[in-house]
């Protein structure tokens, strides 16, 4: 897990958490050991008559026992709080850094994380890493507790101490080995079975209309139940692994206690102390078992995160975006700045692909150039200085209407937003909303209809002030009257700003904005 080094403040917090965990671990062992010593000593003194009982110093041990109970509590609380604090701030930094890394990628080559599955997995991976950070102090604290227990047992002679030291030294590798043997296979099987089940389920869900029409839901449910069995088996095997490791730990503790007691020498109170210290020390090693058991399940996630963290490129400060308009070349023909063209063709012939290639979102299929340079050799930055896209599927960020408009460029003021919304024929709708520009746009829809989302995305493209506007089906989902008004206002805006236009539309009205039509089928591929 070293590809994710922690920053200095988090490392310091983790060291404090480790100190607390160590205090708690030592206090827990000492509490039991001292109690055993105290009881045995008191019994011997009590049996030797009143004088011996009165001479027995009970004040210090009994006060120490109560103090240790409080110390153990405080230590555990501090450990939990501090390790969670370190993990939370570390993960906040990691999320920020990962996002920055992803943001610095070129959309044409970046890993695709847009799907719900990929992003949900990313969240899960970060949580797994967070859990590892939380648990990080527990292992060195266990070791400190083990050393302390060996030191206590050494009061009862070197043989007992040596036996305990050997037993405790063997325990972490034993636990790791057992956990690895018991969980690596099932964890991989479970991940694979889960993937297969999910794929099959999504495939079947796509056939929902037939399933309903023919009443086949019970049949399909049986089929999916068959597919779930390997997953259930793998998860049961993982639970069995948990059980075996827990059982191993429980048995080991009694074995260590019995062995230490058998080898312990000296007065009875010291032997009682050694016995209870040995039993408690094995219990303190449980942290190793937990970490070892989780290892197989988190390894893949950590590897995925490491791949993302090692992507080349870093976030650079944004370059000033104002740029002179450049001509577009397609298949030998040149579109000078300010040209307005419509790309026409039947659906499925690649019009959206064409427009997204100009926007720098996808690799081009057609022979396209910008200022004489083939588009696939243009940097993403050169492309985004020229083009502002209102895509077919309006992609909005979760946030308010204003948040979405502010994406277009830095320093947009409210009056500019209202002007852009007016051209997009959305101003009246937004004005009628109680919260106005601050109305939240819930993820994937919510408060806005499809047509409204489309026009919001159009307003965003207008606000970007790029030399070229790229519109993909701008009026889909609009009634004829609104569509006509939108086309009129857009036409005025294009005239006033001299912005160029590349348009794709199935509908007739928006085509009036273009001065020229180009059939996509006639364009040469690269």
């Amino acid at each position: 897990m070293t590809p994710f080094p922690l920053a200095a403040p988090e490392r310091r917090t983790l060291r404090q958490a480790l100190a607390c965990a160590t205090i708690a671990g030592l206090a827990a062992i000492l509490l039991l050991a001292l109690s055993g010593w105290f009881l045995t000593g008191a019994a011997i003194a009590g049996a030797s008559g009143a004088a011996a009982a009165a001479a027995f110093n009970y004040l210090i041990p009994s006060a120490a026992i109560r103090g240790l109970a409080i110390l153990r509590t405080a230590g555990r609380y501090g450990e939990r709080l501090l390790s969670h604090q370190a993990a939370l701030t570390a993960m906040a930094d990691l999320r920020g850094a990962l996002f920055g890394k992803l943001a610095a990628q070129d959309s044409r080559t970046a890993p695709d994380l847009a799907g719900g599955d990929a992003s949900a997995r990313l969240i899960g991976d970060i949580e797994a890493l967070e859990d590892l950070v939380v648990r990080r102090p527990s292992r060195p604290a266990s070791l400190a507790a083990a050393l302390f227990a060996v030191a206590l047992v050494a009061l009862a002679g070197w043989q007992a101490a040596l036996a305990l030291a050997l037993l405790l030294a063997a325990l972490p590798p034993l636990l790791t080995l057992a956990a690895r043997r018991l969980t690596t296979g099932p964890a991989a099987d479970a991940a694979e079975a889960l993937g297969a089940l999910r794929t099959a389920f999504v495939d079947y869900a796509a056939a929902r209309p037939e399933i309903i029409a023919y009443g086949l839901a019970p049949r399909v449910a049986d089929t999916i139940a068959d597919l779930s069995r390997p997953l259930d088996r793998a998860r049961a095997a993982l639970a069995r692994g948990d059980g075996i490791v827990a059982g191993l730990l429980a048995g080991y503790g009694t074995l260590a206690a019995a062995l230490v007691f058998a080898l312990a020498e000296g007065p009875a109170p010291i032997r009682a102390l050694a016995l209870l210290a040995a039993a408690a020390s094995v219990e303190a090693m449980a942290a190793f078992a937990r970490t070892a058991l989780r290892q197989a399940s988190v390894e893949q996630g950590l590897a995925r995160l490491a791949t993302l963290a090692e992507l080349p490129g870093d976030r650079a400060p944004p370059p000033p975006i104002e740029a002179a308009a450049r001509p577009i070349g397609l298949d030998g023909r040149t579109l000078p700045p300010g040209a307005r063209v419509a790309i026409t063709g039947a659906s499925g012939t690649g019009k959206t692909r064409f427009i997204e290639a100009l926007a720098g979102l996808r690799a081009p299929v057609h022979a396209l150039t910008l200022d004489g340079t083939p588009v696939d050799r243009c940097t993403a930055d050169a492309l985004r200085r020229q083009f502002a896209l209102a895509p077919q599927d309006s992609v909005l960020i979760a946030g308010s209407i204003a948040d979405n408009l502010r994406v277009a460029r830095p320093g947009i003021v409210d009056s500019e937003m209202r002007a852009a919304l007016h051209i997009a024929c959305l101003d009246a709708t937004v004005a009628a909303m109680p919260a106005g520009l601050d109305t939240p746009v819930a993820e994937a829809g919510g408060t806005l209809s499809g047509g409204e989302r489309k026009r919001l995305s159009l307003a965003r493209a207008l606000l970007a002030r790029r030399p070229w506007l790229l519109l993909d089906e701008p009026s889909e989902g609009l009634d004829a009257a609104t569509e006509a008004e939108l086309v009129r206002r857009l036409g005025q805006w294009l005239d006033a700003t001299g912005t160029g236009l590349v348009l794709v539309s199935h509908r007739r009205a928006p085509l009036a904005l273009a001065k020229e039509r180009i059939a996509i089928a006639a364009l040469a591929h690269q």
């Binding site: 943001a103 209309p209 048995g251 499925g348 499809g450």
Partner: protein, 509 residues
């Protein structure tokens, strides 16, 4: 009783192991204090106790997961039926989360939380009963700590519960923000907004982290209370027994302790709060499991199966609109009688398949009036037909279980799949997997059409029946549909101009 609850009771056997171990060490220490050699029985009891504890620690999760899966497997099966059998169910991705991930979360709840809850209700009392055999006062002390413990848990627990719920919520919001911005990254990069948004994401995550730390101070109080009382129980028993053995108790004691009894009580004292600590360790599983149950409870139940479908009298739709969050289809009007062919057309994504589903009565329109066809009267030839693992015969006969091989072969011939079968040298026993591996997209589609023919229903809905077919095959399928329209109603959703031309009427979305 469910196995996972029995597993909880198995922790009481664990208590027996603990008692055996405690007796062993008490006996050994008493012998040592008396200056005698430690008897072999003491060691035997210690090791036997350890064996019992090891066996229960192993058995509890094994039993619990078996019990949990005995309840989650039927739950998942029922959910799949609900989710795939209803047009009103959530999208396929969300459905998969409900039927697969949420069910797995409930399995975790049943495996880890349920046994801990059962044990927490029964095991502390059993521990007190065992300790009472050695020392009534020690048992009384443990019960006495229970009163302030419960009081403390109520005080800290209520605040902690609220705090931890707030924390879960804030972290959930943060995850949502992160996922949303990752999802929209291409468009953010396009507008050169990634630097600004990255700073915003960084600031939001830091802010939530700082707020959460404040919340955790309270959220961890309840575990601190638990930790404190379980430490205090040991300390009080140790101090009482020590003073009792010295004969220095400040109050008249009802019992005279021996070292063996005192040591036994001390060794057993941690067992009193252990079940509660196990329960606390499973608390996260409880929270997640309850959230999963709530989400699953919101899945709509299937309507009861309709009686015999009534006579099919055609379809009439007026101003029908279908709405989802962020998307609308229509309004559209159409009508078709008991025979004839109607073509629905419109660009990709305009909602042709959704309109077919509304006509089939699988989804309810948000506006307009529609006389939907009765379920059981509809054959559906899908764009991506359902293929279940099994033979070609099984798959074709899904909608007509009593079809003879001759009828199945005839249907195969009508959709033009005979050359495919002959070319592979295959029969109706051709095995198929759920992806229909080995079949082309066009062949799969024709398989769906053959199934619809065998179903022989008065209304045939065909989704893009000629897409991906060469001209000759498309013409054959068009002719087949035209022929079928002579004695039943056929509605096709299509882009194909030749198929549209062959239809009696056209509706554009």
């Amino acid at each position: 009783m469910a196995l996972q609850k029995q597993a909880g009771l198995a922790w009481i056997i664990d208590l027996g192991g603990a008692a055996l171990f405690a007796w062993g060490i008490a006996d050994g220490v008493a012998a040592a204090a008396a200056g005698q050699p430690v008897p072999g029985a003491a060691f035997a009891a210690m090791l036997a106790g350890g064996l019992v504890r090891a066996a229960t620690a192993w058995a509890v999760p094994v039993l619990a997961v078996r019990g949990a899966q005995a309840s989650t497997a039927p739950l998942r099966r029922g959910l799949v039926e609900q989710l795939l059998g209803s047009g009103a169910a959530p999208s396929s991705g969300q459905s998969a989360v409900l039927a697969i991930d949420h069910v797995a979360t409930i399995e975790g709840y049943e495996t880890r939380f349920v046994p801990a809850r059962v044990a927490a209700a029964a095991a502390p009392l059993a521990a007190v009963a065992i300790i009472a055999c050695a020392s009534l006062v020690a048992a009384g002390i443990l019960i006495g700590t229970l009163v302030p413990f419960v009081f403390g848990m109520i005080l800290a627990g209520t605040a902690a519960k609220r705090a931890s719920e707030r924390q879960l919520e804030a972290l959930g919001d943060l995850s949502d923000l992160f996922v949303d911005r990752v999802r929209t990254l291409p468009i953010l990069r396009h507008f050169a907004a990634e630097e600004r948004i990255a700073r915003q994401v960084g600031a939001a995550t830091r802010e939530v982290a700082n707020r959460t730390v404040a919340v955790l101070r309270v959220a961890f109080l309840s575990s601190a209370v638990l930790e404190f009382f379980s430490a205090l129980a040991v300390a009080l028993v140790a101090v009482y027994c020590g003073f009792g053995l010295l004969g220095l108790l400040p109050f008249p004691s009802p019992e005279t302790l021996t070292l063996r009894e005192a040591f036994f009580a001390l060794a057993m004292a941690p067992e009193f709060y252990l079940p509660m600590r196990r329960l606390a360790a499973a608390y996260h599983d409880k929270q997640l499991g309850e959230a999963a149950r709530t989400a699953i409870a919101a899945v709509p139940h299937l309507p009861p199966p309709a009686a015999e479908p009534g006579m099919f009298a055609g379809i009439a739709a007026r101003d029908v609109g279908i709405a989802w969050p962020g998307r609308t289809v229509g309004p559209v009007s159409l009508s078709i009688g008991t025979t004839g062919m109607l073509a629905l057309t419109g660009p990709t994504g305009s909602g042709k398949t959704s309109l077919l589903a509304a006509i089939a009565g699988q989804i309810v329109p948000s506006s307009g009036t529609l006389t939907a066809a009765a379920p059981g009267g509809i054959a559906w030839a899908a764009q991506h037909p359902l293929i279940l693992p099994g033979t070609l015969r099984d798959n074709l006969a899904l909608a007509a279980p009593h079809a003879t091989d001759a009828a199945i072969l005839a249907a195969i011939d009508r959709v033009g799949l005979t050359p495919m079968l002959a070319g592979r040298g295959a029969s109706l026993d051709l095995p198929l997997d759920h992806r229909g591996s080995g079949l082309s997209g066009g062949e799969r589609r024709r398989l769906g059409l053959a199934r619809a023919l065998l179903a022989d229903r008065p209304l045939l809905l065909a989704d893009e029946p000629t897409a991906d077919l060469d001209d000759e095959s498309a013409a054959a399928i068009t002719a087949l549909l035209r022929g079928l329209a002579a004695d039943r109603a056929v509605i096709v959703a299509t882009h194909d101009p030749r198929l549209i031309a062959a239809a009696d009427a056209k509706v554009t979305l």
